[in-house]
């Protein structure tokens, strides 16, 4: 092959670690990358503890991290059971909302008539505080039913997933469409080989937002009333009784749920899009 100055640079750049492999140097880099965040989290907790002690803040105003931790261990079974309810609502809602969001996006992207009618409405609906519907959903489906909360979550998830997926399906590089035309590709091939893969990054960026919204949605929907064993109910009850260490224990579980679902979506994204730009740098930095 004729020599090209660029080729060599590219080659050497990837001799070290190709995406997906974890070499010792990559592992070291990864630790290095997350270290600042871990140190910061630790410092915040220490500062919190120290400040509460130094200024002698009353426990019913702000609990110390050490107290919250002790309470969390005491209340472990209760908060985990509450978390389990909330998790099921959030996941059920996330799955349903995503499913309908993608189906709606496929229909919307396919027929421009629908798109012109539906998209302004969808964008407007996306800025409505859907959580305000929670009391109504509670009446419809019953206060203690999982469905009531899942329905609210599903509606919250639906709009960002749908809007972003439509964008991904329609905002396709003009050159790629011209290429497919030059190859006399039937419309089905244009959808499966260009539009759908093109939409994946858009879909996943919406899903990552939706994952966080799902847990928030489920917990806040529970604030309006729900099962005794649910995070939103537990947190409101404990906070109402000035038992802040208990309330914080519930918040810890809620945080863990949010992070866990987010991490799952992140893993799914990496699995579904081994090529994607956002994943390139992650292993190299």
């Amino acid at each position: 092959m004729t020599s090209e100055p660029h080729d060599r640079d590219v080659l050497t750049a990837f001799e070290g670690d190709l995406p997906g492999t974890v070499t010792p140097s990559a592992l070291r880099r990864r630790i290095k990358r997350y270290l600042p965040a871990l140190v910061l989290a630790f410092l915040v907790l220490v500062a919190w503890e120290v400040l509460v002690r130094v200024f002698n803040v009353q426990e019913f105003i702000l609990a110390k991290p050490s107290e919250i931790y002790a309470t969390f261990l005491d209340e472990f079974d209760t908060v985990v059971e509450a978390g389990w309810t909330t998790l099921r609502e959030a996941v059920l809602g996330l799955v349903l909302g995503t499913l309908f969001g993608v189906l709606a996006a496929l229909a919307t992207a396919r027929w421009s008539g629908i798109r012109e009618g539906v998209m302004p409405f969808a964008v407007a609906a996306n800025s409505i505080p859907i959580l305000a519907l929670a009391p109504i959903a509670n009446q419809w489906f019953g206060l203690t039913s999982l469905t009531a909360k899942a329905a609210v979550v599903a509606v919250i998830v639906f709009f960002p997933v749908m809007i972003n997926t439509v964008r991904g399906l329609t905002e396709v590089d003009a050159g790629e469409l011209e290429l497919m035309r030059a190859l006399a590709a039937p419309p089905r091939d244009v959808v499966t080989r260009v539009r759908l893969p093109n939409a994946l990054p858009y879909f996943f960026s919406a899903l990552k937002v939706a994952a966080a919204l799902a847990v928030i949605g489920a917990i806040v929907a529970e604030y309006f009333g729900g099962r005794t064993a649910s995070l939103g109910f537990y947190i409101t009850q404990q906070a109402g009784a000035f038992k802040f260490a208990e309330a914080w224990s519930g918040i810890i579980v809620g945080s863990v749920l949010g992070i866990a679902i987010y991490a799952f979506v992140l893993g799914l994204e990496r699995w579904a899009m081994p090529w994607h730009v956002s994943l390139r740098a992650a292993d190299d930095r």
Partner: protein, 254 residues
């Protein structure tokens, strides 16, 4: 039979007061196996003309035939492969699967696809990179993949729209050598759009010089330098003479 016949072709864009005449009365006949370049300033309609041949645009007046068929029939029969200025590789496909794309669309089965893709990647010298994703390749390598993709289904005609326009000078010359080697081996008809005079002269048997407003073919220069062309050609007096001839043809009509 000529590979491409262009007879009295004109193309206008827009309507009413905003109408732009991009091409006017284009006549050009290209023989089978011939290498012809279209050269001209930006806006002379050379890319438009290439798109008319490829049925990516329809002419406003005149007729075109590609291998005796209408451009539409030729496109449907996949008689031509196209290489654009941007490599236009699909990010989500590896190099090998990008080369296989036309074959997949044509419904060719997996084993056949793989062996043809392997053959094409060997032809452009990228066998080792079959499993890489486009972003892992340099611009020149990406363009070689695009050429492999355009040749994968063995079209008789290759349409190239400033394929090396975005590359640096050294890479560009290497790609030109590469393209001539492939052309001499595969004997395809090539229509090559460029705005580089040395590139057009080095590659082609004939250079169609275009002028703008409206876009016309003002002159066709016969290059007549022997193949295989190589580094010596680039330093040959005859090469410089032809460059001068094309340059003057471009100047005349400014």
């Amino acid at each position: 039979m000529s590979a491409v016949e262009i007879r009295g072709v004109g193309k206008t864009f827009g309507r009413g007061a905003g109408v732009v005449e991009a091409l006017q009365n284009i006549n050009l006949s290209i023989e089978t196996g011939e290498f012809v370049s279209l050269i001209g300033p930006s806006g002379c309609g050379k890319s438009t003309l290439l798109r008319l041949v490829g049925d990516l645009l329809a002419p406003s007046t005149g007729t075109l035939t590609v291998g005796g068929k209408t451009p539409h029939a030729a496109r449907e029969d996949r008689d031509y492969g196209m290489v654009f200025q941007k490599a236009t590789l699909l990010d989500w496909r590896t190099v090998r699967r990008n080369v296989e794309l036309p074959l997949e669309i044509m419904g060719i089965d997996g084993e056949e696809r793989q062996s043809r893709a392997a053959e094409m990647l060997a032809l452009v010298g990228l066998s080792e990179f079959a499993g890489h994703y486009p972003w892992q390749l340099s611009g020149g390598m990406q363009q070689r993949v695009a050429i492999a993709r355009a040749l994968s289904f063995e079209p008789s005609l290759l349409l190239m729209d400033e394929p090396f326009g975005a590359l640096d000078e050294m890479t560009r010359e290497a790609m030109q050598d590469e393209l001539l080697r492939i052309w001499e081996r595969t004997k395809r008809t090539v229509i090559f759009v460029t705005h580089s005079i040395p590139e057009a002269v080095f590659l082609s048997q004939r250079v169609a010089v275009m002028s703008r407003r409206p876009g016309r073919i003002s002159r066709v220069v016969d290059v007549g330098l022997p193949y295989p062309r190589d580094e010596d050609t680039r330093e040959d007096q005859g090469f410089y003479d032809k460059i001068t001839e094309v340059r003057e043809a471009l100047r005349e009509h400014e």
